[in-house]
Symmetry: none
Subunit: 179 residues, 4 copies
DNA sequence: CATGAATGAGCCTTCATTCAT
DNA sequence: TATGAATGAAGGCTCATTCAT
């Protein structure tokens, strides 16, 4: 499955060939079919496995802190971190989601990923620290979208996500969502 | 080329078959090869054409307004509008960019798209209305990322981008970037 | 037709494309079909025309000389000359003859080419100067084969057919066929 | 590979279709691609294999005899024999060599074929039995060319290479090359 | 006489998948 | 569990040929 993710990352979903996956794992193509019913099964398995891992990662490692702002700053850094460290996985998910392999039910899986993040925001609203007259989805879109683009820009070499840049970025986000 | 965009939108880049493109345009597959050297040429042509069109659209229609805030609000609505109206085109671009068809030089094309938006932000900084101690890329990432996610959420049915929602969203963005 | 010969010479019979022939003559492919019924017709026409030209060339220019040896030496030089000057044409004929385009009747055409050469040999036999106990075909094979190879070797850069080399070559041939 | 040679012999290089090759070997076309990368690879492989085989055949079976004339007569018969027995292979080589598939390096292969024959001639020159004032290439051209034409004439039904005819032919060749 | 546009047949090739072992 | 060999279905592409003008 790692190999599959790797290939998708370098050559895109189009570039995935059962043959090559097998070769890279040093087994025969036919052997692959013992573990996965077919190509779709392989791809979907990778998708489920990957999202599940990320969900778990979020479930277990979402930073906690008594002070709301600190907590959210932690979440911000955590999301960025995760997107950087698991860029291949995210790239896979992004492509899978746009492919004809995606079925409706698969989407639910994805919604689980940032459930916890929602909770953090909800708490912030309850504590009257975050804007409470805007839907949580909007706050979330801002956080999700901004972090995604930041990482994308770094990957393209347009910015460097050092401490200072991250601080500046978070300051903007914080200004956006705080009451 | 429209047909190609359509197919990519519904079936993904993987789903593009010269055969089907031809059938939908009601010409023979071989006839396609008079206009495009091969599949890659078709895809790349669509990419260039589409980005060029969007660049032109941005060049011509970026809203202007004497008051900075109004100007940026205009830009915000304009971007959202464009992303909604041309969702297929953007979907195509997103997928093409991740495919093995993409070559380095193709990327330059994309940078042109939002050149004008940069200018709007730069003006805002010069007028000392926008935060001027953060790199323009960060401001841009926030705007780009947030709008993308908003549209994505609407497409998924999670939110509705009505007047009120847009106003709320812009308020957040404005709070983020204003001095 | 010259263009066709040219293409066959550089790219082989396989390389002949109606499209390219047309392009090189600066007419449209469809226009080609006014002059030739189809590809086979074009190729066969070239074949007939070329052989006919060579036959005519042999008919008109076969050297004559009262002394038998001189006459045959003339023929030898003449054949070599022709094979060098019309190497493209001969290359075409060679390839056409091995192709599925060749029909039995086409072969007769070829036999005409060296009819006159046969006559020269026959005269030599009658004059009791050439070996008269060997079939004319054998004498002919020796002349034809040797000259072909000589030209081939020159084309490959293995020998140079200068005066001296030609003299040596003819001496061998003469020793072979004289009584 | 034999099938390929066969097809080239009957239908020319143009007539080689991967499809038909496969059908005749009773495997699927795709299976062919396990053994040969593509059509060109198949053709080139056949070429290499065939020339190599012939080279080997010449290396191993070039007749030897203490008396120079006998030795060369042996070579003469041997060449004719080979050209008759392996007419298909020679036909393939001839056509391949004129095709766009041929690359420069491929030619070297061919020069090996008659290396040994050269040696026989060289020995004859050293023994002062063959003409030693003519380049070996000329002697070779005479032998090669004449034998080729003889076999060609037999194939066309113009002569029959029986004992008597061969003797006559060799007498001519011998007269040509002996001192 | 000339053409640009169009086409269908067919070939090469790939690749997911299976079969015999 | 593992594999090498095999395959069928399908897609990309070429090219001789024709059609409307």
């Amino acid at each position: 499955m790692n190999v599959t993710i790797d290939i998708v990352h370098t050559k895109g979903l189009i570039g995935v060939k059962m043959c090559e996956v097998a070769k890279r794992v040093k087994i025969s193509p036919s052997n692959l079919y013992i573990y996965f019913k077919n190509k779709e099964d392989l791809l979907r398995s990778v998708f489920f496995d990957t999202t599940k891992k990320i969900v778990k990662h979020f479930d277990e490692s979402i930073p906690n802190h008594p002070i709301c702002k600190k907590r959210i700053e932690g979440v911000f850094h955590f999301i960025i971190q995760t997107k950087v460290n698991r860029s291949k996985e995210f790239s896979f998910i992004r492509q899978f989601v746009q492919s004809p392999y995606l079925e409706k039910k698969d989407m639910q899986q994805m919604d689980l990923i940032l459930k916890n993040v929602f909770d953090v925001f909800r708490d912030g609203q309850k504590e009257m620290i975050l804007k409470d007259d805007v839907e949580i989805e909007l706050i979330f879109a801002l956080m999700e979208g901004t972090t995604s683009k930041l990482v994308e820009f770094q990957n393209k070499g347009k910015i460097t996500l050092d401490k200072i840049t991250l601080d500046k970025s978070f300051r903007m986000i914080w200004d956006a969502i705080r009451q």
